[in-house]
């Protein structure tokens, strides 16, 4: 990676978020600084309550920071924008729309004519291997399939930055590893700058080019670890020494935070 000229895609500039709760002020994020380069796959791990979802929502433009700012391509983030796509843990598919119509949703809002939108949507439905389910409603799909639709829907509007908030958190272990492999493959086919939140250290290492460990109360970035494992990454990697070393190191950092939160 060294020597390669890469531009900063997302700049998180001293972002602070303070919530006014019933029990007084709660500092969710305390001065977070981070540069995310183009086509980086950032995985964020940390104990619950470390503000990782808050940070994602701020980058998405769904929340406003109390102070500081986020810049995408040098432009300050104000509200949501088509260059940033989001995949939520709860899938957030529109239950009254078929798979096809869900994936077309963002394209139609962009004003793309129907037949063209259908074509683009079909490309991404194929990418997540759901071409046999184009006319199915979300209630007919399993959790893993629903999340695939959500990924296709986010990809279809062709965002430059893809924000994912524990997208595989609600899935069983098998489906999760399957979707991890699919996501790395997809990401290699069509590179995007990714910001991926997870509480699963293995998942972070398998997917990320960088793993960021956040500390809790107040939330800030504790450590940034480069993951120099070669692509394509397969599940076999989990048995190799480099992987296990990284896992031990990151797990140690997260566990330390976890203990501190408990105190």
């Amino acid at each position: 990676m060294a020597g390669e000229e890469r531009s900063v895609k997302v700049r998180i500039d001293h972002v602070e978020k303070i919530y006014d709760g019933r029990k007084g002020k709660m500092v969710a994020l305390n001065g977070v600084d981070l540069d995310i380069y183009e086509n980086e796959f950032i995985c964020v791990v940390g104990p619950s309550g470390c503000g990782k979802s808050t940070l994602l929502n701020i980058i998405a433009g769904l929340l406003e920071p109390t102070s500081g700012a986020v810049y995408v391509n040098g432009k300050k983030v104000e509200g949501t924008g088509p260059e940033r796509g989001v995949v939520f843990q709860q899938y957030a598919l529109f239950p009254w729309l078929t798979v096809m119509k869900n994936v077309m949703f963002g394209l139609k809002l962009k004003g793309i004519p129907d037949d063209q939108a259908r074509e683009i949507a079909m490309k991404y439905i194929r990418m997540v291997q759901l071409e046999d389910f184009v006319d199915a409603y979300p209630k007919e799909l399993s959790g893993g399939m629903k999340q695939r639709v959500a990924i296709a829907r986010a990809y279809a509007v062709q965002p430059e930055v893809l924000l994912m908030d524990e997208p595989f958190g609600a899935l069983d272990a098998q489906t999760r590893t399957q979707l991890q492999s699919e996501l790395t493959r997809t990401w290699q086919e069509e590179k995007k700058t990714c910001f991926f939140i997870t509480h699963d250290v293995e998942e972070a290492i398998i997917l990320g080019t960088k793993v960021i460990v956040m500390s809790a109360r107040p939330g800030r970035i504790k450590t940034v670890i480069d993951i120099d494992l070669p692509y394509p990454r397969t599940q076999d990697l989990k048995m190799q020494k480099e992987f296990l070393d990284l896992k031990a190191r990151i797990w140690g950092e997260v566990y330390q935070e976890f203990l501190e939160v408990r105190q």
């Binding site: 769904l62 949501t80 939520f88 529109f94 239950p95 009254w96 963002g106 962009k110 509007v157």
Partner: protein, 260 residues
């Protein structure tokens, strides 16, 4: 044990319907021959004869049309006012805080209780009928739709926003479809309330109508046509419910859970 019981009486749905129908007929026949109840429950031939008479005299059509005009106008007014009020209540806290206690309060008063008040206010005729049905359907539909709007999943709104939806799109493409099941439930409850309120509403000195006619038959001790009208009101009710339920299935089949 349970399985044994079940396997003994396996019948298709229509089979049960026939049995249920025959059982009711038997009970009715018993009531019609029993000395104490015979006067109130004339049996089928007398009812059919009464049906012939009311059709011949032209009063059935007149009553039916009159009642439907009141029900449909009252319900339609109720619906077009309930939808905006429900949305305003769901979105604006002051509107909710001011209206909700009164909606709950009036909703718990049986319409029959305030019918005289409405008659004193606007006089007899069709006007008080429509007003009473309007009020009753408005209240039940407002409460139901309001709950639907408040129930719209926050993440769906977020998902739509990150896909580029503006405020107008959020309403048309997310809030409205997400609320449809509740709107249809509201329609079903509203129609049912409209029919039950009708009888109370027509006690206001109407010149025709199903409810008014029952009163007048009662005054002249014409039991057979009275029972006929009661049965007809039941048939109108169950028919409209079936129609709306079919509509619900068609429009909201995408739902994960079905409400009963």
């Amino acid at each position: 044990m349970d399985d044994n019981k079940k396997s003994k009486i396996q019948l298709p749905a229509w089979g049960w319907l026939i049995i249920s129908f025959l059982a009711a007929l038997a009970l009715w026949f018993f009531l019609s021959v029993n000395e104490k109840t015979a006067r109130s429950f004339p049996f089928l031939p007398a009812i059919l004869q009464a049906l012939g008479t009311v059709i011949e005299r032209g009063i059935l059509a007149e009553d039916f049309i009159s009642s439907m005009i009141s029900v449909i106008s009252g319900f339609a007014l109720g619906f077009v006012t309930a939808v905006p009020v429900a949305f305003l209540m769901a979105w604006y806290l002051p509107v909710r805080n001011i209206l909700e206690p009164w909606i709950q309060f009036i909703r718990n008063i049986p319409p029959l209780a305030y019918v005289p008040l409405v008659v004193i206010a606007v006089g007899v005729g069709r006007k008080p009928q429509i007003i009473v049905i309007w009020l009753a359907t408005f209240l039940i539909m407002t409460v139901t739709i309001y709950q639907g709007v408040r129930n719209v999943d926050e993440t769906l709104l977020k998902a739509a926003r990150v896909l580029g939806a503006k405020d107008k799109d959020l309403f048309v493409k997310v809030v409205f479809p997400a609320t449809t099941p509740f709107i249809l439930t509201a329609v079903r409850l509203g129609v049912s309330v409209a029919l039950t309120t009708l009888i109370a509403a027509e006690s206001t000195g109407a010149s025709a109508g199903m409810g008014m006619r029952i009163r007048s038959f009662s005054n002249s001790f014409e039991v057979a046509p009275m029972l006929l009208y009661i049965i007809l009101i039941g048939i109108i009710g169950i028919t409209s419910e079936k129609i709306i339920k079919t509509l619900e299935r068609k429009l909201t089949g995408w739902q994960e859970k079905r409400e009963v």
